[in-house]
């Protein structure tokens, strides 16, 4: 299917209607915009160039260069159950910036209208107003602050002033490096070290932008924060870095969304997310990942290699990861919790859908270090078409993690008979007062259920979507309400064509 080109003046509804009719991936269009690229490939000069573009201090440049030196000695991991052609890391652009972003806009009013139109079409509000039609809730709770990242740069961040009043810092990471160097220097790489793994190390060398959040002690962030990632430029990797610091007794809920145009060639996305939780802090991190998954034959799509980790440093802190992974040709992602403080809690709720030729290898790591730490894992994997879906998870109870608990539930659902589901749990318990429970099920979408739904008037795809949404219920209900609705629709869309 060809990209739908949008001419100026074509109204969004028409575009959306056409996109609906052409089915499947709704966000596959491309924004025609003049883009400035760094030279192809990666080497210390490219690393220096990215650092210079972001006007970074010397220590940051050095940090990147040492990560790069390390990366050159590393090899790609091969243990995941994913199969893809060798990535040529020298034939990718590591930096792409719309030319109109050359001079940093002073406010959202100064942002290139084409960029604003892009986010409008994606349904991402970049105006500071009540949003999300159809969701009824009090005016105050309806607002979501957005950081919009387009290829390698942050386009703008909303509600900054209001958040500032509450003491919350929410800005792009490039800005944070310039404006809050002490905070960044203290925490960056403290959860995911620059040497952590092949992709995280590459990210440490070449990350161009991303989001930064700091919530001061005792503050409950007055609104949801979110980052919306859009890859637009062809043949370009997106390497973003997110750093969230929740100081003592604070709370923040953070959402992340991702889309990309349809391209015939695969594109690399290697992100790092670090979350630091001090005493009694709570962070809820939700992702709706809808990168372009490639076509039915497996052509194109995003290769998504992501390292996400939260460090519950302070006692009684709590982190919760919720992810809905419907996109990407390859997903390699294990949002993890280091339960360092005593009485800390980690949760991981995941829905991973793989259709057509998609491959997902995803799960979590729960590392129990502190006493009486608790973790809960609920994973729902759905495979359709010829897709392969693997849950890979580690639960590790260290000797000092006395009286700790884990509960893991992994359910797989198969649609059709050419797909696969795999569960690979690793469990290490090194004390005798902790308890680990693991439950796993694999089932097929039942013909009787589909016939029952159809005999009541639903078509086959509606019936599958309903049954699958039911299967995912426990995870969907963990999402913030506005995301839950979107996610339900996404579940339906990503399974189109999976039956019949």
């Amino acid at each position: 299917m060809a990209d739908i080109e949008v001419k100026d003046g074509v109204d969004d509804e028409t575009v959306a209607a056409v996109a609906r009719l052409s089915g499947k991936y709704k966000y596959g269009w491309n924004t025609e915009i003049e883009t400035e690229f760094a030279p192809l490939g990666v080497n210390p000069d490219i690393v220096r160039l990215i650092s210079a573009k972001n006007e970074e201090p010397e220590w940051m440049t050095e940090w990147r260069l040492s990560a790069f030196a390390r990366w050159e000695k590393m090899t790609e991991p091969t243990w995941a159950m994913v199969d893809y052609p060798q990535i040529d890391f020298q034939s990718i652009y590591y930096y792409a910036r719309p030319k109109s972003m050359l001079v940093k806009p002073k406010s959202l009013d100064d942002v290139d209208p084409k960029l604003l139109a892009t986010y409008k079409r994606l349904g991402i509000p970049l105006k500071e107003q009540a949003i999300l039609a159809g969701v009824e809730m009090p005016e105050e709770e309806r607002r979501v602050a957005v950081d919009a990242v387009f290829d390698s740069v942050s386009v703008g961040t909303t509600f900054r002033e209001e958040l500032k009043k509450a003491g919350v810092i929410f800005c792009s990471i490039s800005e944070a490096i310039r404006e809050y160097p002490e905070l960044v220097r203290k925490y960056l790489g403290s959860v995911v070290p620059a040497t952590d793994n092949f992709y995280a190390t590459l990210n440490s060398a070449v990350f161009s932008d991303g989001s930064f959040v700091y919530v001061p002690p005792g503050v409950r962030c007055p609104m949801e924060l979110s980052t919306y990632f859009r890859i637009n430029a062809e043949n370009t990797g997106q390497f973003e870095r997110t750093l969230i610091i929740a100081d003592k007794g604070s709370y923040v809920s953070y959402l992340e969304g991702c889309t990309a145009p349809k391209r015939d060639t695969a594109q690399l996305h290697a992100a790092v997310v670090e979350i630091i939780l001090e005493e009694d802090a709570e962070v809820k991190y939700s992702t709706v990942q809808n990168w372009y998954p490639g076509d039915e034959e497996g052509k194109g799509g995003i290769y998504n290699f992501v390292t996400k980790r939260a460090d519950c440093r302070g006692d009684r802190s709590k982190v919760s990861w919720t992810q809905v992974e419907t996109g990407s040709a390859i997903t390699w992602k294990y949002p993890s919790c280091i339960l360092r403080g005593d009485d800390t809690q980690g949760e991981f709720y995941s829905i991973a859908i793989a259709n057509n030729m998609q491959q997902a290898d995803t799960g979590t790591k729960m590392v129990h270090l502190g006493k009486r730490t608790k973790s809960r894992i609920v994973s729902k994997g759905i495979s359709a078409g010829k897709a392969q879906n693997t849950y890979r998870g580690l639960v590790s109870m260290h000797p000092k993690a006395k009286d700790s608990r884990n509960y893991t539930q992994c359910d797989s659902l198969l649609i059709g008979d050419k797909c696969g589901a795999h569960t690979v749990p690793y469990i290490e318990v090194r004390n005798n007062s902790s308890r680990v429970e693991h439950e796993a099920t694999t089932s097929k979408v039942d013909d009787d259920q589909l016939f029952y739904c159809r005999s009541r008037g639903m078509d086959e795809e509606e019936a599958v979507a309903l049954v699958v949404n039911g299967f995912c219920r426990e995870v969907l209900q963990e999402l913030p309400m506005e995301f839950a609705m979107e996610a339900q629709q996404l579940v339906a869309i990503s399974l189109e064509g999976s039956v019949g």
Partner: protein, 251 residues
């Protein structure tokens, strides 16, 4: 309303003929009952009419108001006004009963080119109709049929029927597994839906359901054919003498 002529059906998987030429006409606004011993093909008839996979039609026709039912997908038959109350209602974990009902109602409305019901309007109608069937708010919230008792499942089928307002209702052994009170509740629900433009085909093994839902016509089915047709008295005859006499007569 429903016209079945010489319908022959075999199982897809094995070479076994189940229906061997069924002729049946249900007029608009009438209640027909089909009785028969186990294995006579009663349930197969209901499944074939509603479009379940696994059967192959080898001869004959089935039309509803002149429309060839057998050419339609199950959901198209539903939108055209056909409804099957299942003998064994299916459980759908994680899907709220209310969500299921609303999705079904709106899917049919959409198929017929009607506007979808708003959440508010829908809720009002559901509550009212659920109350008549003694279905409480909790049962509407619970996942479809999951953990429902036999009686709750059957009442839930009737609620779906009440919400979807079909023109042709097939009840497949709706009385099976019900105690007397539950059966009465279900029968009351069905009777409340009896209307001029709506026809019923009540499939049952026992006569007792027909004490509560009085049929206009009773058919006896055996070995894949309708072997006798009569008035409500025929059901009483079966109740008294069993199927043996009737079977012997036609043998």
């Amino acid at each position: 309303m429903l016209e079945i002529k010489g319908l022959k059906v075999k199982l897809e998987e094995e070479d076994k003929q189940i229906l061997k030429g069924v002729d049946l006409t249900v007029e608009t606004g009438k209640v027909h009952a089909i009785m028969g011993p186990n294995g006579s093909g009663k349930s197969t008839l209901s499944y074939v009419l509603s479009g379940r996979d696994g059967y192959e039609v080898t001869g004959g026709t089935a039309t509803m108001d002149g429309v060839d039912l057998l050419a339609l997908e199950p959901e198209e038959r539903a939108a055209a006004g056909l409804f099957l109350a299942f003998q064994y209602p299916v459980e759908i974990p994680g899907v709220g009963n209310m969500t299921f009902l609303r999705t079904a109602v709106n899917a049919q409305r959409k198929a017929r080119g009607e506007a979808e019901l708003s959440a508010g309007d829908f809720l009002k109608v559901v509550r009212e109709r659920a109350k008549a069937l003694k279905i409480d708010a909790d049962m509407l919230k619970r996942p479809v049929n999951v953990g429902f008792s036999g009686g709750e499942k059957k009442r839930n089928e009737i609620l779906q029927m009440a919400m979807l307002e079909p023109r042709m209702c097939i009840l497949d052994e709706t009385d099976s597994g019900l105690d007397v009170d539950a059966m009465k509740l279900v029968a009351d629900g069905v009777n409340a839906l009896r209307a001029e433009g709506r026809s019923f085909l009540v499939i049952t093994h026992y006569q007792r359901l027909l004490d509560h839902i009085t049929p206009d016509v009773v058919h006896i089915m055996a070995d894949g054919r309708i072997i006798r047709t009569g008035g409500p008295d025929l059901a009483l005859e079966v109740e008294k003498n069993g199927y043996a006499d009737i079977l012997a007569e036609t043998a």
